[in-house]
Each structure stands twice: as C-alpha cells, then as structure tokens.
Amino acid sequence: GAGVSQTPSNKVTEKGKYVELRCDPISGHTALYWYRQSLGQGPEFLIYFQGTGAADDSGLPNDRFFAVRPEGSVSTLKIQRTERGDSAVYLCASSLTRGGGRYNEQFFGPGTRLTVL
C-alpha cells in the first residue's frame, strides 16, 4: 500500500488480557516508530526500530509492553496483562531515513484505538 497501515483499527479487551497491535510501514522505510496518544494529549514516544533491532525502547512504560520487527518490515506491539490505563490510540510511523539527522519526516498510520474494560 501507499501508506502506513495498522490493524485492527479498534480493539476492545478486558483487563488482564493480552493484545497484539500490528503495523505495516511504507515499503522501503527502514525506521519504524510506535507512539501512544491519550485523549487530549499529543503522541508520546514508545519505541523505535532501525531495521530489525529496537534502537530505542526508552518510552515503553513498563515490562508489560514489548514490540518486535523480526524481518525489518512489519512490527507488532504486544501488551500483556492489559490495564484500564493502557486505553489509548496507538500510532505507528515509518521513516525513510535513519533519523537523528537533518531529515526525519515520519509518516503515520491511522492508529489502533485500544479500549481496556
């Protein structure tokens, strides 16, 4: 596809359950980012991949959150033992450049709205 895609678009789960959120970046983009956005707030950084490796996971709130990108393309964000406070829109973005340099335009997907009951 032409843009970043994310599935599912909406996910409703019960407290304590496990969820997986998927991101398909723009083809050829080596950098992939996950952000979380709570209502009325700006997106907050979670984790960044360069290729297959997590280059910066400093934004993950705790060890219940984990993300993988095994083949350097699709990424999955995994949340264990979900809590009501995890409810938010989870946004994925990809970038052609490595980032940290002079050009870092990130293209965002539509997001997954996670609701934990």
Binding site: G42, G100, G101, F108
Partner: protein
Amino acid sequence: SQQGEEDPQALSIQEGENATMNCSYKTSINNLQWYRQNSGRGLVHLILIRSNEREKHSGRLRVTLDTSKKSSSLLITASRAADTASYFCATDGFYNQGGKLIFGQGTELSVKP
C-alpha cells in the same frame, strides 16, 4: 516531560481569517515539524523546518523558527472549514538517537463557516 508546548490550546476563527499557532520547546533540535490530526486519529505531516532555516512556506502554510527563543509559529492563511483539526508541533532533539519525535499537547483549531 513535553518538549513542545503549543499556544493557544484552542482557537476558534471564522472562515477566511488567518490562524496563528505557536510552539515552544526546551532543548536543541535538528528540526521541527508540524502535524495535523483529524478526529484523534492519524497524523498528517504538514511541514518540516530545519534548525538552520528561519522560515518556510507550503501553500497556505507559513512556518517560522527562532532557535534563539526556542519557538516556532504556524500560520494558516485564508482558513477554511476543512482546516478544523488539532495541530501539533514535534521536535527531534539534537541529542536524540534515532530521531524520535517529541510532541506538544496541540492546538485545537475550529474554523466556522
């Protein structure tokens, strides 16, 4: 903590008027970007301005950057109802590894027809 802080938090104008939003940040940056978001979903990239640039234009958008004051402004001229959205500035800190973006809380713009 938020790197960028937008001002005002909410702005309501009539169609045809200009809208100005401001953003302040705290640390040195490589570049600053403005994004638009409709209905709390995906962000649309509007414009990127590098730290060595002072002004940039794109259509009805004009962005300025003052690195000495650590501030930026986004001007939308001749606004339209379709410009109604939330607008965010985002910076990638100069010492960041990987270019992760730090967003402000956004300005909610309402353009009335």
